[in-house]
């Protein structure tokens, strides 16, 4: 009997350590029921990245953006200096109250009926207030805060789940790796102006896998590595490292690689002038964190997943990237470049150069990742093959080009999604 290629299979994730086999049913990427359940069980019940504190340094500074597809905005309160994250909807009849992507404002006025809120969310202005009788409590009609908001090292997270564990507990082992990124940057970072917002026709979890997939680099990104060689990078050192399960679905690959790092691994491409500065940055890291700590920050690359949908890749440049699925076969990507404040101009330029060449959608690598993931999604539609194999490196200490980091994600995903029997029933 043939089954629908879109029907959720039970179980979706098959984890068989004894047989050293790990499989994911392809309905995880194609099923509308699975997608709907992900919105309810994963995106509504996780800590999700909203933005970085450096984006709103001054009172009244704000940015608006969707978080898990929901329009919210983040504003630094003019009175408290706190980071407020509000649902972007007027408490009167629903219109957006923040209609600019970024800016500075003491008040947010809904243009529909001119209800006006301050940067702390309080309702300050209602035209014709005397038309309301005593039944309306205006103090209770302030902007609705997203249920939970917490920051870690400047990264602002929100959760729509009021009962979720505190952010530090949630981040588990990933905290240490965020520390490595920030401390490596000298402890103080900022988001660079200019972001990448692109979408493509593949399931979001394929991009989770791809974002820390050491196995695909050589085959998919041949043209990028050729380019690196052409500009003088010596690739002979190769890539070597390990994959680590950080708990709660978070995972990382950490590895040495031949390319230079603006903090703090010099290569000829950086030029002699930058060498002194890179030596100084590295020496500074040694003073603050010891030789071992400095090595981990300066020379080791890391591709980090903060479950479920935040990627921080600290490689030849640092990207902060969120993923969201508006549909099973579409992913919305938003990506920023993170950099140390007061970075030497030449190093900042080289950092951004590396970002746009490798990580950017106009570069020499990301378009080919997009092609690979769209190609997978198209392949799923063929049917015939029901399972993806994610077994690579089971039964050995997992290396950076194995798939243990993906298994860590999928195990937590399966746990949050439940046994999927209810999904199968929803066919």
């Amino acid at each position: 009997m043939s089954t629908s290629i879109h029907a959720a299979q039970m179980p979706i994730v098959v984890d068989d350590p004894a047989a050293q086999r790990f499989k994911v049913h392809r309905s995880a990427m194609t099923s509308r029921e699975v997608h709907r359940a992900e919105i309810d069980r994963i995106f509504a019940e996780s800590w999700l990245y909203v933005g970085h504190e450096s984006e709103i340094p001054k009172p009244g500074d704000f940015v608006r953006r969707p978080v898990a597809g929901r329009p919210v905005f983040m504003v630094r309160g003019a009175e408290t200096g706190n980071i407020n994250v509000f649902h972007n909807t007027c408490t009167h009849r629903g219109a957006l109250v923040c209609r600019q992507d970024s800016g500075n404002s003491k008040v947010f006025q809904c243009f529909y009926h001119a209800w006006t809120f301050d940067s702390e969310g309080r309702l300050k202005g209602v035209p014709g207030r005397d038309a309301y009788s005593g039944g309306v409590d205006f103090d209770d009609l302030g902007l609705k805060r997203v249920a939970r908001v917490e920051s870690y090292r400047g990264f602002v997270f929100a959760s729509f789940d009021p009962g979720i564990v505190d952010l530090p507990d949630y981040l588990a082992g990933a905290k240490d790796y965020i520390d490595l990124v920030i401390d490596g940057c000298g402890g103080s970072v900022e988001m660079v102006r200019g972001s990448n917002q692109y979408s493509f026709a593949a399931n979001w979890k394929l991009l989770v896998e791809n974002s820390f997939d050491g196995y695909h680099a050589e085959s998919t990104h041949d043209t990028y590595f050729k380019y690196l060689v052409s500009i003088g990078t010596d690739l002979r050192g190769g890539v070597s490292g390990r994959a680590v399960d950080l708990g709660n679905g978070h995972a990382v690959i950490e590895y040495s690689a031949p390319w230079g790092r603006p903090v703090a691994k010099w290569e000829p491409l950086f030029g002699e002038d930058a060498r002194t500065e890179i030596d100084r940055l590295r020496a500074d890291l040694v003073t603050r964190h010891g030789e071992q700590g400095a090595r981990a920050m300066a020379e080791v690359n890391r591709n980090l997943l903060i479950y479920p949908n935040l990627i921080i890749n600290d490689i030849m440049s640092v990207t902060v990237r969120t993923l969201y699925p508006p549909a099973p076969d579409v992913v919305d990507v938003t990506a920023w470049a993170l950099a140390p404040v007061d970075e030497l101009a030449a190093l900042r330029h080289r950092r951004l150069d590396s970002f746009l060449t490798f990580l950017g959608p106009g570069g020499f690598a990301t378009p080919d990742d997009i092609e690979a993931l769209e190609s997978c999604q198209q392949g799923f539609a063929s049917g015939g093959v029901e399972w993806n194999d994610i077994s690579r490196g089971m039964g050995r200490v997992p290396m950076a080009n194995d798939e243990e980091q993906m298994r860590a994600f999928w195990r937590r995903w399966q746990q949050q999604m439940g046994n999927a029997a209810d999904l199968a029933g929803a066919q």
């Binding site: 917002q197 979408s199 380019y227 500009i231 970002f355 746009l356 959608p361 106009g362 378009p367 080919d368």
Partner: protein
């Protein structure tokens, strides 16, 4: 320049831009690269920072001649998977305005670049800004900047083709 001179200048510039578009649409990228001076730049700023300066802002594309040549080499290879096989493209140039001096001509123009591949279509819309130099009875490109009018890249996924 007289009015007639401006008109004649614009006609020559338009012919040059149409010829450039034809080379791109024919995927004759080696000849396209010959249009650029060796100190040339090809830039595409991020959709949300159209005045972006590559020295301190993130760009989508910031090619000097070396990287532009590498881009051509990549797109000519069979391993630029996103563009192998190539998209069919149609570069349309209009609203051309010409200014600048006798030595260096500044050009602004609107563009629509259609990209078709695998049954799907994308459309890039924006403005070009060129700096052109007179050379051998024709022009060489000193700088080409393509500013996208789309607020983001969600509808087009990437900028793997040359705009």
């Amino acid at each position: 320049m007289t009015t007639a001179g401006v008109a004649a200048g614009r006609q020559h510039v338009e012919d040059f831009l149409y010829a450039e578009a034809a080379l791109l649409d024919a995927w004759n990228l080696d000849d396209w690269l010959l249009l650029f001076d060796h100190d040339a730049k090809y830039e595409v700023p991020c959709n949300d920072a159209l005045d972006g300066d590559p020295a301190h802002d993130l760009m989508l594309i910031d090619d000097n001649y070396t990287r532009l040549a590498a881009r051509v080499e990549r797109l000519n290879s069979r391993r630029a998977h996103r563009e192998y096989p190539h998209s069919r493209t149609n570069h349309q140039v209009f609203n051309v305005r010409v200014g600048g001096s006798a030595d260096e001509i500044s050009v602004s123009a609107s563009f629509t670049v259609w990209r078709f591949r695998g049954g799907r279509s994308n459309c890039y819309v924006g403005r070009y800004r060129y700096r052109l130099r007179r050379r051998d009875g024709g022009f060489r490109i000193a700088a080409k900047r393509a500013k996208l009018d789309m607020t983001d890249l969600r509808a087009v996924a990437d900028v793997a083709i040359i705009l």
